[in-house]
Subunit: 212 residues, 2 copies
Amino acid sequence: MELNERQEKILTIVKENGPITGEQIAEQLSLTRATLRPDLAILTMSGFLEARPRVGYFYVENAQKRVLNDELKKMTVKEFQSIPVVVKESSSVYDAIVTMFLEDVGTLFVVRENSILTGVLSRKDLLRASMGNQDLSQVPVNVIMTRMPNITMCGQDDALIEVANTLIQKQIDGLPVVKQVSVNGEEVFEVTGRMTKTNITKAFVSLAQENE
Amino acid sequence: MELNERQEKILTIVKENGPITGEQIAEQLSLTRATLRPDLAILTMSGFLEARPRVGYFYVENAQKRVLNDELKKMTVKEFQSIPVVVKESSSVYDAIVTMFLEDVGTLFVVRENSILTGVLSRKDLLRASMGNQDLSQVPVNVIMTRMPNITMCGQDDALIEVANTLIQKQIDGLPVVKQVSVNGEEVFEVTGRMTKTNITKAFVSLAQENE
């Protein structure tokens, strides 16, 4: 929303002097109350100012940013997730590294039958393992993976902004997108997607592209 | 910006029937033109509608998102960059991997004297090197690094959204933030920072946090 010069002046006055009456604002601008009425109406209805009877006008912090917040909350994992890349628990570290290169991903998920999540492998885990003096084709991934229940996960309906926050707070590159299922009475998680900092970066870029 | 019920109705009418005159909108709502005047003024001044003389009102796509775009364009590399982590050209691949773990970064920059950029090392480059049957402490990083002029860089005043787009388009994890300097008549780039998908993810999170 573009404010005109007079509306910007009004905002500045209210920011510095609020609560302030319409009369007082008019006085400061050497204008009549009637002249200001349309501007005050627009500023109030757009959420920049709040008017309280017998008190006056208040400045509302970050009115513009509320619009932004609304847009952000609408973005969910579902829209931005990638296809998961998985390896079996019996796979070797060597095979996992090859898979990571072939699929060009930074995070692999380790699964048992029916895509049930048992572990996660990061590029860092694999690099650490490859530094040792072991024959990587003889080491199974379940020796070096992060395993359940120590895996941070997300669901496809989670807000993207929450997932982004989790990635930052926990300092991880990617999360499995999962669906809770019951297998023989046991509650487990089926891997359905992958959310990484790359997906978040794409979402960030999309914020701008939607506007062009 | 919160629209009232009548304003939402007007938007719907203009979306479906625009260009449409104020008279025609009033007719559809069974109201007088005078009653609608304040609503039309607010919708026009807020950018939701555009009025053209003798034609009528048009709906403006994504008026709300323009606010978002304005916010995005204000975000620059400077505000969100990290400190660069560098190694010397003569460092071994082994030392580079150790540095990557100690500093917990995904991208290292290779520099000569005065922090002049000569190469970039990604986690992937190091993982690839460590898969070979070489003694990593005997291989210098300049054998495996991506070298100038094939390095994508950014400046501290670049818009974050442009950098995010570059990271996605070129499928890279991080960029050096550089400053062009002249050394003995040669135009070179001094490394001053580091921009990664982690920084972009933090910027994305900050969009929401500023609003709380």
